[in-house]
């Protein structure tokens, strides 16, 4: 499903150039659950951003389901992301001004779905994530675990083929962390491809395959 070849990313500021990724090769099959590990600053999040089309690589090739999407324009990247990719962040990135329901509904709005259809999808996913009783609450009124479940709801509501998770349990205690990982596994079993960046060996244990990055390079791949 995902084929990444010789991917390089350079961040340039006025004074220095930082090589975040050096000629990385990665393949991810459909319905695979891949964990990306490595120390801080090794390029994990950069890789995830490029895979999620939030950022363009400096060099290399990236094809998604056989389509070369390496150097898409901002407009086309947005178009491609819509409905194809769901994001889960460590810091949840919820919109404080919107309530739970509205936060989850967000991706559907941009897919120009009908209101009744959106309502059904949102209610389904909230039920599945066990936060439907909180639909009218605002993010700040929820606990950390609930917030992350909300973020996951939003990531999966449009039923995207690919879910990208950036340290999804990083801000959670172990009980809530395990709960979130179980949810991700379930989603994976239902057919979603998941790429997850994590520091935690426990979380990595849920994945089929672990990729270790160090200083912008893949140093080890291991299959669980």
């Amino acid at each position: 499903m995902i084929k990444i070849e010789k991917l390089t990313k350079v961040f340039s500021t006025d004074e220095i150039e930082t090589l975040a990724l050096r000629a990385v090769d990665i393949r991810v099959k459909k319905s695979e659950f891949v964990a990306v590990m490595g120390p801080s600053g090794c390029g994990k999040s950069t890789l995830l951003n490029i895979v999620g089309l939030l950022d363009n690589p400096t060099e290399g090739r990236y094809s998604f389901n056989g389509t070369d999407i390496t150097y898409l324009k901002e407009k086309d990247r947005t178009q491609f992301r819509k409905g194809n990719i769901g994001f889960i962040f460590q810091s949840f990135n919820l919109i404080d001004e919107l309530n739970v329901f509205d936060n989850v509904e967000l991706p559907l709005l941009y897919l120009k779905m009908k209101a009744t259809e959106r309502r059904k999808l949102v209610e389904d996913v909230l039920k599945r994530m066990k936060i439907s009783h909180r639909a009218k609450h605002f993010p700040q009124q929820l606990s950390g675990g609930q917030q992350q479940r909300l973020a996951i709801s939003r990531a999966v509501v449009a039923n995207p083929g690919l879910i990208l998770a950036d340290e999804p349990t990083g801000n959670l205690d172990s009980k809530n962390g395990i709960e979130v990982m179980n949810l991700l596994s379930e989603l994976n079993q239902d057919g979603a491809t998941i790429i997850m960046v994590t520091h935690s060996d426990r979380d990595a244990g849920y994945a089929h395959r672990v990729i270790n990055l160090f200083d912008g390079q893949v140093i080890m791949e291991k299959v669980n």
Binding site: S45, N49, G52, L54, D55, E74, K75, T78, Q79, R81, K82, G83, F87, F89, S91, N93, L94, I95, D96, E97, L106, P107, Y110, L111, R154, A158
Partner: protein, 785 residues
Amino acid sequence: MFKNYFKIAIANLTKNKAYSIISISSLTIGLAVCILLLLYVSHELSFDRYHEKADHIYRLCQEQHPYQAPGAARLLQDNLPEIKKYARILPRDNILFQFEDDRYKEDYVAWVDAELFEIFSFKFKQGSPENSLQQPGTAVINEKTAHKYFGNDNPVGKVLKVDNENDYIITGVIEDIPQNSHFTFDIFMTLEDGGKLFGSDWEESWGWWNFLVYFEMQDGFSKPDVEAKICKLMPVNPNDPDPELPKMTIQSLKDIHLYSAHFLGDIQPQNSITYVLIFSAIGLLILLIASFNYINLLTANATTRDIEIGVRKAYGASRSQLAMQYVSESFVVLIISLGLALVLVQLFLPVFNELSGKDLTFSILANTNIILGILGMLVIVGLLAGWYPALVLSSYSPVMALKSSKNNASSKFQFRKILVGAQFTIVIVLIACAIIMFHQINYIQNKELGFEKEAVITSIFDFGDEAQYNILKQALLGQSYVSSVSVASRIPSGSLSNEGYVIPEEQTEKISIPYVHVTYDYFKTLGIEAKQGRLFSDQIKTDATESVILNNKAVKLLQLEGNPIGQSIKCNWPKSTRRIVGVIEDVYFESLYNKIKPAVFLIDYSMVYHLIVKVKPSDAIGSMKSVTEICQEIYPGEVIEFTFLDRILQSRYQADTNTFQLMGYFAILAILLACIGLLGMASFILARRTKEIGIRKVNGASVTEIIQMLNVGFAKWIAVAFVIATPIAWYGMGRWLENFAYRVTLSWWIFALSGFITLVIVLTTVSFLTYRAARRNPVESLRYE
């Protein structure tokens, strides 16, 4: 402590350069506009107040104008003990003065009573009020005139020859009458020998309403009582069985300049309190916009200062101390802005003078009232701008402030929205007013007046007897560039103030109606055609004594039944019975401020004094020169100057045209200020929403969708501002339009257009920022969470 505040103030100003530039520049512009308008308004309010007896001086007024018969003043003084003294002014223009070989036409000339200089406090450089115009044949001139005729010689004792016949000896020189006076004459001549000039019984001509009458009143008189007595004393027509009492009033000298707008004419064009109020309001509104900008940016910026406030509070700063700090900070900003504003005022004063038709100088600033005004303005803005942030920011609990909570930000945010909404209300009001004024002025200038005003030149001089005039006429008509020539008592742009009366056939009642005394070719020169019947013709000998032409309004006024042509009416000026030979359309003879009046036109050479000549439009200026030369040859004793009729007409609307232009510039300034504020505000909002924008983009929102979302937010403010602004502008402009007898209607599109213009301006301004915000890579906004 203040040193510390000052340091923080300067530090904050330099730290947030963009905010500081926006605050200071908008306060500078706001203050500069306010100071300019303060100069203007205080100049307008200062009219005639410099006279020592200003509180006791009153002007006698008729219902529609301030002109009186020469005998009115003495009659009233003899009968009313409340009147201490009176002085009459007979204003004149186009008077020829000669000293040795220097000859000039003077326009600011008056025949006056000697008491004028006792009632009014004009400063004598030479001579004295007691010894000025008491003797026949005396004159007092101002310094400008003295210099013009006599250079550096002493003018006292010198003799000026007036209109080639009368000699006036100069007894005094006064300082030029200050600009803030409702009349400014250059030359005053005594009325002592009025009999020589106007005939021995001149003071008995009760129909000669040409004099302005000023009274010095006793202390503590009752104005309504005096007015009632005046009305009873004024003579009425003894033949009238049921005479109507005249509606006479006395007007305080201090009211003349600003409260004479209801008069059809005045000694000199006066201003109206309406404009003073309009400009005061504009000044205030612009200052408000500028202060709102400052408040908005200060509070928006203040989120970055939460920690400073928290620390100060934690270390024991009281709320009032913190408030004090903000207020003193705002004064630092204000004083910087004031300094810059004064520079701006100095730079733009000439432009402002040109637009306002005034001659204000920067030195007026050195006036106690103005200085107090500016200080007052500073204190108000300083408190206004300092008070709100001081109150809000100092009210945080230290813990909250240190936590830099977002909840605080959102409540402040509501208030800022209100301020921005208020700004745009002001902007929409100003735009709507500017459009309406433009619309009305455009209407006036392009209105079909019913006569041809282009390429008609006019002049006033003594044409001699009819034979001499005919020589002139033939000489002019012999030129290829002259198509028509005529003389008359009144020409369009003048006022129809020569009222006589007529009695139509089979009626007995006298109907008073304006008379226009003309000669042949009058209508042809003005391009007026007969609607019914015919115009005067020099081929028909009876026209000079037996024919009359009416305008449409006159036909209605006289209630002539059937075809008016051929009916005869009795006229009193000159006494004659005349047959109606023609009816013309109602032309806009006076200005569009007045309703069209009925008028009768008849031939009477003895009354004429305006010459009108229709020249070739393609070379109007050249033709005017040649015509002047020809006239000068035939009348070597006259000083002859021509003006264009359309220019005279245009000058009628000068005050309104000037106001409109100023209004336009102020609207642009207000828009500019509001946009500056909006940019600051928008950048703040976008900074706050960066994360949200990032999240939305990650979840599939496109750039266009983000821009749309942000712009809709701004558009909502405009919608609210529009709803509030429309009735305000509608009411204000309705009042202004009441000044015009003929006016445009206030249609909905004007308001829609101003709302739309504001919307376009706002969206263009913010789209610049929203586009950048929406384009930003979401990763950047989310990375550093």
